[in-house]
Symmetry: C2
């Protein structure tokens, strides 16, 4: 079972190739404003390094968000194209779940938090004590203070914060939650596509694969274009 | 502070570039028998992707082992060369410590275990509850059964096993430790150089940098060549 998984929800895109529960290649690459130019060449390079072609891949997986609209759209479209062209199935995963999986097997609750601009965060609260994360607060978009209040009403146990939203709002987190909040060491603040490949394998084993047309982004809020259109 | 870190102790080599507590690129690449041909081109490619040259790097870091003799030697020599040519300092880190750091902030003890061939493992037991791992059993080379006995005499608390040695000897681990043993999800079984970059930053902050000539592999046992020479 050969899986190609990508996460393009943040400016540090991640691509992974896994074969039978073994990661054979993973790449984190800074794609600020250059994702569309870099994603396909990077996928081609990694396939070649692994001695594979797109036709060898059995399952394609992409983040479906939340995160950068452009990034998520680009990632989903690329995986849809690869799945369509090869006739292979695909699946999607939450960028926040994959980010939380950086702390797999942790007994501490995990709060992945991505900067959603406009003074909001994409955030969730996951139990990662088993290898598949379990949401205590589902992926949502909120002002960071409102999300921290949600956590405070739910638990007084320690919570590990990670992601670019946690880095941006670390002072606010410290003010609101004090010593309840723990912070990820810096290499843990980005989603790793290898964890997306693990979720894809889980989806495969549970018969939850999709046709390319069924792989859809989950933005959690309307884009600026949609908001402007609605305003008329 | 720009750091280039590499871990070449296993067949899945890892290279990371970090700038000021931010990972800007990381790569895991399968280098079975091709490390010497692949390492420099991969470093060049990653520097170019990050918009950097070797001269821009402030600190170079390599695994010093334990692990594949050829891999560790190649990694150390490459980092020595880069540090010498640029006049920048370097530092080394344990491949087992970096592997254990895949479970940073965990309250569970971590046992990184690499296959050392000859029915032995390179292994250690780390407390990773803070971002810098703390050894309860230092890096050593032992038959896996002997190492598991060492753990059993030390603690009856759960231990997370990871690394290619843990995968190879998983049955033995289960026999000896039963439900005390937990196993890493598969993306966690390889060292990530970004964690090596974090250790390098820690070494820098504590004034523990080295001249290139001081960066030396720690093999933990004699090579076959040395054993054969001693036999005369």
């Amino acid at each position: 079972m050969k899986i190609l998984a990508i996460d393009t929800s943040t400016s540090l895109a991640s691509i992974a190739i896994a074969i039978d529960e073994r990661v054979v290649a993973e790449s984190l690459v800074n794609t600020d404003r250059t994702l569309s130019a870099r994603l396909i060449p990077e996928i081609e390079r990694m396939l070649a390094t692994a001695g594979l072609t797109a036709a060898d891949i059995d399952l394609f997986a992409s983040t479906i968000g939340p995160g950068s609209f452009t990034g998520v759209r680009g990632g989903v479209a690329t995986i849809q194209g690869l799945a369509l062209a090869t006739g292979k199935p695909c699946t999607g995963f939450s960028s926040l779940a994959v980010l939380a999986m950086n702390f797999s097997l942790s007994n501490t609750l995990i709060c992945p938090m991505l900067d959603a601009r406009k003074n909001e965060v994409y955030a969730a609260l996951y139990d990662c004590s088993s290898s598949i994360p379990n949401a205590h607060i589902k992926d949502c978009v909120l002002p960071p203070a409102a999300f921290l209040n949600l956590i405070a009403t739910l638990t007084d146990q320690p919570v590990i914060f990670l992601g670019d939203g946690a880095l941006r709002f670390s002072e606010l987190i410290a003010q609101r939650l004090g010593s309840q909040a723990m912070y990820a060491p810096y290499p843990f603040n980005s989603p790793h596509a290898a964890n997306g490949a693990l979720l894809a394998l889980h989806a495969f084993r549970h018969g939850q694969l999709l046709e390319p047309s069924q792989l859809l982004p989950v933005y959690l809020r309307a884009s600026d274009a949609e908001i402007n259109r609605a305003k008329g």
